[in-house]
């Protein structure tokens, strides 16, 4: 059965969509390299991102969020299910057939320094993709495009001839974003793009994402482990655990009325600069189980304070809960879970 029960509207408008997507990595154990086990990095995910939406994808390390992001970008070969971009199944296409889609989808990485060639000036780095996507442009025309992309991210044209090492972390991330924007994509997958940045710089880059998303009506998938960040940028948030989406809802709903015990625990553990909030926290025991050998039934049940014996039986599928766009993969619909309280917000403002 499909994990998702999507409304027809959501399906037809989706720019990016996965259907029962599985990415399992073989782990070589035998002497002759025969895969003997599989890491179930992404284990049956169906999610649709309508055009113009910012979908936040949160999870801890090992949840499969980055692999899902890469699979959406056709950088990982799915072992099952489909990845659709604008209605076309990318998983069946070879590299040549993928090429037209590559320029419509771009990626922004966590560490912009390692994703920029240290021997190329900013102009050279940014101009490379244009040679493929816009071969008709001559050199001066390419330079104009590079300048425009830099200005869009708040860097002056004076930086054209500089090398990556001459920039601070925040500036490098702006360059990384400019490079993604230069081919005028419809979709950007950003994988932890602000995790390596200082707090004040992180705020600048988040504001920049918000601005370009609005200005260019981009569709954005924002992968992060940081709930506060995702709460700020995303329209809708999907929470991943052990290769599965366990809950997805509009951002405000997810934070105020979480329906999955894991989301509740994540929200509770998130450090927030409000003194005295640490007292009533939900503590999760242990760590995420290995994706090599996930628990039967619900992947979260081994750490769940609300688990019942039946949770070990069937793997819960995402089902609608509460608001129409709210879906949760938990068999317990009798729980009163605690989200963030909006009162605190009123007090501090």
């Amino acid at each position: 059965m499909s994990q998702a029960l999507m409304s027809r509207a959501e399906m037809s408008q989706a720019l990016v969509e996965t259907r029962d997507l599985e990415v399992h990595f073989p782990v070589r154990r035998s002497l002759f390299g025969r895969p003997q086990a599989f890491v179930r990095a992404v284990d049956g995910v169906s999610i649709a991102i309508p055009a113009g939406e910012v979908l936040g994808l949160v999870g801890e390390s090992g949840s499969g969020k980055s692999t899902l992001g890469r699979a959406v970008m056709a950088l990982e070969q799915p072992t099952g299910g489909q990845v659709l971009f604008d209605g076309v199944d990318l998983s069946g296409l070879d590299q040549a057939a993928l090429r037209p889609y590559r320029s419509r989808m771009q990626m922004v990485f966590q560490d912009p320094f390692s994703s920029l060639n240290p021997r190329m000036t900013v102009e050279e780095s940014l101009a490379v993709p244009l040679r493929f996507t816009a071969p008709e442009l001559d050199r001066p025309a390419r330079r104009e495009r590079v300048k425009a992309a830099l200005e869009r991210v708040g860097l002056s044209a004076a930086y054209l001839y500089r090398y990556p090492h001459e920039f601070s972390g925040g500036q490098r991330q702006r360059i990384g974003i400019a490079r993604a924007l230069i081919v005028e994509p419809e979709f950007i997958m950003a994988d932890e793009p602000v995790s390596a940045l200082d707090v004040s710089v992180q705020a600048q880059v988040l504001n920049l994402f918000a601005r370009i998303q609005r200005e260019m009506s981009l569709t954005l998938m924002f992968v992060t482990h940081d709930l506060a960040v995702v709460g700020h940028v995303a329209h809708r948030v999907a929470v991943m655990y052990l290769g599965r989406v366990v809950e997805v809802a509009p951002t405000r709903t997810l934070f105020l009325q979480p329906r999955h015990p894991y989301t509740e625990a994540l929200l509770s553990a998130a450090p927030d600069p409000v003194p005295g909030r640490g007292t009533a926290r939900i503590r999760l025991e242990g760590e995420m189980p290995s994706p090599l050998n996930p628990p039967s039934g619900c992947p979260f049940r081994t750490r769940c304070r609300y688990a019942l014996p039946t949770c070990a039986e069937d793997r819960p599928e995402l089902r609608p809960a509460g608001e129409k766009a709210h879906r949760v993969a938990c068999i317990r619909d009798d729980l009163e879970l605690v989200g963030t309280s909006p009162e605190e917000q009123e007090e501090t403002s």
């Binding site: 200082d198 707090v199 710089v201 700020h232 951002t251 997810l254 600069p273 760590e287 995420m288 963030t340």
Partner: protein, 337 residues
Amino acid sequence: MTARRLTVTDLSVTFRTPDGQVPVVHGASFALDAGETLAVVGESGSGKSVTSLAVMRLLPAPPRAQISGKVTFHRQGRDLDLLELPERQMRRVRGDRIAMIFQEPLTSLNPVHRVGQQIMESIRCHRSVSSEDARRQAIEMLDRVGITEPEARLMAYPHELSGGMRQRVMIAIALALEPDILIADEPTTALDVTVQAQILDLLRDIQNENGMAILFITHNFGVVAEIADRAMVMYSGRVVEAGRAEEILTRPLMPYTAGLMRSVPRIEDAGRSEQDLGTIEGFVPDPARMPSGCAFHPRCRHFEGGLCDVEVPPLEDAVPGHSLRCLRWRSLEGARG
């Protein structure tokens, strides 16, 4: 009355670089009591880590790094001047009386030795105990830091453990000798939030039990709210604001601290992204090319020419126990933002 553990007075650190002598910490002064957690908060380049390394004397020897000032470790009524101590004696203090944990336990643990061996080594380095006793202690410590099946885990290599487990092992090593002071340099930054919460709990529990003092270095105000009694904000090598953690978080007076607080996305505001986050424009100055006057003035929205760029503001008390460096804070109070 709580006992003073550490007094740092006018600590300065200068590095020799190809650009000449570059001061990275300027006259930092602070004190740490038993049972207390002091958070040192700052962005990269603030000098927060260098300050802690200077206290531990883990910086390169002169002339590459010059340390001045005074670091006094108070122990059983005696005062040890750590910067003057002969290296042999310092080695006895380090790891035994003052222990340290770092952000990435994988780089602090030896990959080719079993974790049990590494815990036992640190115990036997400082105490003359039999290997049997050291082993027993190691098992006890692993159990104490919440590692299940501690006996079996003794035989594990670091790569066989998860990030959270490795940090627990580091804490076990650091705390095996019941140090008076623990210096924790971003110990939870590389960990997932649920694991971070566990580690912060663990440190707090151990502190409640044995009364150790913690110097906690972090860039994360959320973590400050979780663990710190007092907080000290550093910018460009200077302490710019210090006080009770709660007060710093709810009523920051220095424009830099206030700006940082505004730039942190709040969980309570999730889903209200229509507003931009507050930002501090520009970036931390190069320590080799420090601006005149207040180091923050080129980025400060309350900058006043002829005042802020003339001399370095002194650290003054706004209220007892809450100090800051800003010449304009009085006129900004109330109109903060």
